[in-house]
């Protein structure tokens, strides 16, 4: 779940990270008053969860309080990637001498957290990685061994920062790493982290993502920031389809058939099991398939839960077929999922043999499941067919590869 910039900065401030004077405002009058209080040039920033604010025109600059009020009116209606601003942040405009980038996130390949640091901040870090790789350091650290400032020092020093700049940056980066670990974040990023003309360093923009499953462990913080239990805080508001998917999962406590994310393709996906969802989704895309959705099933969902998810996916305009694929399952029953998808197809008025492109769920009760699938003429396969190959077969039926 993502935090708005003003919330990220509230957390930064709580932990002593250096920030400019700022205020969240909700009217032009408040914007004028905030700019007066700041007493100098200001930045007016729309508070949205998605990126691309500057390009969309949701960040403006003002030299006077009247200009700040006018820019408030200009920024407020700006839609960024389909998202309206929740509020506006007025912040002092700082005289910048140099911009840095620092991010703490997880490296899935190394299975370790990593600090990314660059002395070329303020721009897209992927671009820096591609065009100036020597200006981006990657420093992994352990979640088991005690954390020390050494990690931050290594990350910063690796791009050639030395002297007093290094000394001033180390505590900032170290605090960001501590925040990352303390609040179960999946991303803690400051970009830009600015060196001002007077030599001070401050956080100009920040981005925090918390692991959604960790929300329960951080209720006090979320309450302090005013984040309600019902706020999903994804990159964009949930679609009707996604809300319906969440409902399918919520009404039945048995197993999981949820985390539905809508895409605009024609192949519906019922996927899951131990990372299988991501693997299978990628396998479909890599082989030219166009997923209509992402989802996760597992934990032995009931027949009706699978049925309702199937019906929901088949009700989505543009969905021609569905692919039902999982990793090898031990705690989900193949026969129950088979019953659910077949019944879902039939209740949706579709022929399972036609609409199910592939059923690839090996594991517990697969013999029973395969009997059900065979009776209904559905193409299925066992674990001798890899997930990648199964996804390829589905794509082939869609004419995608």
């Amino acid at each position: 779940m993502r935090f708005y910039e003003y919330e990220s900065k509230a957390l930064f401030a709580k932990h002593g990270l250096p920030l400019g004077t700022r205020q969240v405002v909700n009217s032009a009058a408040e914007a004028r008053a905030a700019a007066e209080a700041i007493g100098g040039p200001t930045v007016i920033k729309g508070q949205v969860l998605s990126g691309g604010r500057m390009k969309a025109g949701a960040v403006k600059f003002a030299d006077t309080p009247d200009e700040a009020a006018a820019e408030f009116e200009a920024v407020l209606p700006v839609i960024v990637n389909g998202e309206s601003a929740r509020s506006i942040l007025i912040e002092e405009k700082s005289p910048i001498a140099h911009e840095y980038f620092v991010s703490v996130t997880w490296d899935g390949r190394r299975k370790l957290p990593v600090v990314l640091f660059s002395d070329m901040g303020g721009i897209d870090i992927e671009e820096v990685a591609e065009t100036h790789p020597e200006h981006l350091s990657r420093t992994h650290f352990s979640t088991i061994l005690p954390l020390s400032e050494r990690v931050a020092k290594e990350a910063i020093g690796a791009v050639g920062v030395t002297g007093s700049d290094l000394n001033k940056l180390v505590p900032i980066v170290y605090k960001l790493i501590q925040l990352f670990l303390e609040y179960d974040l999946t991303l803690a990023e400051i970009n830009p982290l600015a060196k001002l003309d007077d030599g001070r360093f401050i956080v100009l923009d920040g981005h925090l993502d918390m692991e959604a499953e960790a929300r329960g462990d951080h209720k006090a913080l979320l309450a302090e920031l005013g984040i309600g239990d019902d706020e999903t805080r994804q990159a964009r508001p949930p679609t009707e389809f996604e809300i319906a998917g969440a409902r399918v999962n919520a009404v039945d406590h048995r197993g999981v058939a949820g985390n539905v994310v809508e895409f605009d393709g024609n192949l519906g996906l019922i996927i899951g099991a131990g990372g299988g969802s991501l693997t299978l989704f990628d396998a479909v895309r890599k082989q030219g398939g166009k997923p209509a959705n992402y989802c996760e099933i597992g934990g032995n969902p009931s027949m009706s839960k699978v049925k309702n998810l199937t019906k929901l996916i088949l009700s989505k305009p543009g969905v021609d077929k569905i692919a039902v694929m999982m990793n090898v399952v031990s705690n989900t029953r193949v026969d129950i999922v088979a019953r659910g998808v077949i019944k879902g197809c039939i209740e949706a008025g579709k022929d399972p043999a036609e609409v199910i492109a592939i059923f690839r769920i090996p594991g517990a009760w697969e013999d029973e499941g395969f009997k059900i699938l065979a009776k209904h003429g559905v193409e299925y396969c066992d674990r001798s067919v890899s997930m990648y190959e199964a996804a390829g077969r589905a794509c082939a039926k869609m004419g995608s590869n």
């Binding site: 026969d335 039939i346 029973e368």
Partner: protein, 73 residues
């Protein structure tokens, strides 16, 4: 009316027995059995396809009086 995948048959004598009905209602994890107002057995057709083939109902009643049929075999 059977489900799409599963049917459950119960002998009339068992279905009329309030004590056995109570037992069947208790053991079924997916609520296929319910008790009518008079204590006799009702089979909830909507739940038949939820059957997990645990056989607890078969064990709860006298041998051969409850039969779970897989309609896909």
């Amino acid at each position: 009316m059977p489900g799409m995948f599963i049917d459950v048959e119960v002998d009339a004598k068992v279905a009329a027995d309030a004590e056995l009905t109570k037992k069947l209602v208790e053991v079924c994890t997916v609520s296929i059995f319910a008790a009518k107002d008079d204590g006799t057995l009702d089979i909830v057709e909507d739940n038949l396809d939820e059957c997990v083939l645990c056989d607890l109902c078969i064990q709860a009643a006298p041998k051969g009086t409850v039969r779970v049929k897989k309609l896909y075999e």
